[in-house]
Amino acid sequence: MPTTLGTLERSVMDLLWSTDESRTVYELRDLLPDPAPAPTTLLTVLARLEKKGFVAAERSARPHRYRPVASRAEHMAELMHDVLVDSGDRRAVLERFVGGVSADDAATLRRLLDGTG
């Protein structure tokens, strides 16, 4: 099965999110399903994820260890905030089927956000 960098980014994040431990590129390679990508490919993916702000690298260790910057639930909350809150400056970003919640409608927002992630 051809693996694009995008789907590989997803698999790597899923692995990093699934544990509290930081991982080396070799540990990640061993945890990924076959055919496992080459370590250089994984390093490219990790560099991209670091640039996007999802992954932090511990460069004091050899080999470098990688851990997620925030939990999956925290990123999910960021995404749902985009979707649910009708703050003026973000209104043109996406088009909802039914309008969102105004930023001061805190009770509705909390109800909608509960159970996400």
């Binding site: 995008g6 996007k52 960021e78 209104r91 043109a92 088009e95 039914v98 309008g99 969102g100 919640v101």
Partner: protein
């Protein structure tokens, strides 16, 4: 040119307040959303042009019978150091207004593109492909939401787990057709333009009103497109079900959208009149001040 400046000032004032208020209060836009969107665009464009054109034509008054010759005359006077301060101030006002509006458009385009890029990155990591609907993404989340992230060819329609649980297959079809319409008809361009207009005039209530109305009309337009393949009753049910879960204001907006499905569309002759009026609003003043022959003949 003094008469032109006076006429443009009148147009700018009319388009800044009474005309958009009338349109915002009218009931017919719900029966002809595409036509109403043409009218809103004409008001914004003609209003902006008149706002810039009024000080500009006042500045060049006395230097020529039309804008082109007048501007050339004023520039020659400035180069020669003979231009009065008043003309230079008016010219600067017109230039700054133009830069202000264009600048806000550019800044808004960049901001929205950046926010969409960030959202796309989050989606890539947090959503999965829908098992049967090609192109649709699913996010885990109990809030029933459906939306599209418009990014040209990379546009995505996103459905939440809560929505999949709430709607039956037909209602889901309605939602997907509605979101496809947003992507295909590029509604995001309109929304960004009115977002920019509002951010350029943040304390101007009509700009906020226009942005809200345009957003609502765009939803109605997407509904009308979905109605080509979906029965009205199914679409109304989907709107009701999703709307009920949100806030009171979103439920009210959903009720308006469902109610309009049973209203007859506006007559073709009335739609044509609005479109003609909108085109005239933009073209007549522009041609009047820009075309030397016309302006020369008219005064």
């Amino acid at each position: 040119m003094l008469e032109t400046a006076a006429a443009l000032t009148v147009i700018a004032v009319l388009l800044a307040w009474p005309v958009p208020m009338l349109l915002a209060r009218a009931a017919w836009p719900a029966r002809a959303p595409a036509t109403a969107l043409v009218a809103w665009q004409a008001i914004a464009l003609a209003g902006g042009l008149a706002m810039i054109g009024a000080p500009l034509s006042l500045a060049v008054a006395g230097y020529g019978d039309d804008l082109v010759r007048g501007l050339a005359g004023l520039v020659r006077a400035i180069v020669a150091g003979r231009a009065p301060a008043s003309a230079m101030v008016l010219l600067a006002v017109a230039a700054l207004l133009g830069l202000w509006l264009v600048g806000h458009l550019v800044v808004t385009l960049v901001q929205v593109a950046r926010q969409r890029r960030r959202h796309a990155v989050l989606l890539q990591l947090l959503s999965s492909a829908h098992p049967t609907r090609a192109g649709a993404r699913v996010i885990e989340g109990s809030a029933p939401v459906a939306y599209c992230l418009p990014r040209g060819s990379g546009s995505a329609t996103v459905l939440s787990r809560g929505l999949l649980d709430l709607l039956d297959a037909d209602e889901l079809d309605a939602v997907v057709h509605h979101e496809d319409a947003h992507v295909r008809q590029r509604h995001d361009i309109l929304l960004v333009a009115f977002r920019a207009w509002h951010s350029a005039l943040p304390r101007f209530p009509v700009a906020a009103l226009a942005e809200g109305r345009v957003a609502e009309l765009v939803e109605m337009l997407a509904d009308d497109r979905a109605r080509r393949s979906i029965a009205d009753a199914v679409l109304a049910r989907a709107i009701h079900r999703v709307g009920e879960v949100g806030s009171a204001s979103s439920a009210a907006a959903a009720a308006r959208r469902a109610a309009r499905l049973s209203a007859p569309p506006l007559a073709a002759s009335e739609r044509a009149a609005v479109v003609l009026g909108s085109v005239a609003l933009v073209t007549v003043p522009t041609l009047w001040i820009a075309l030397p022959a016309l302006a020369g003949a008219g005064g």
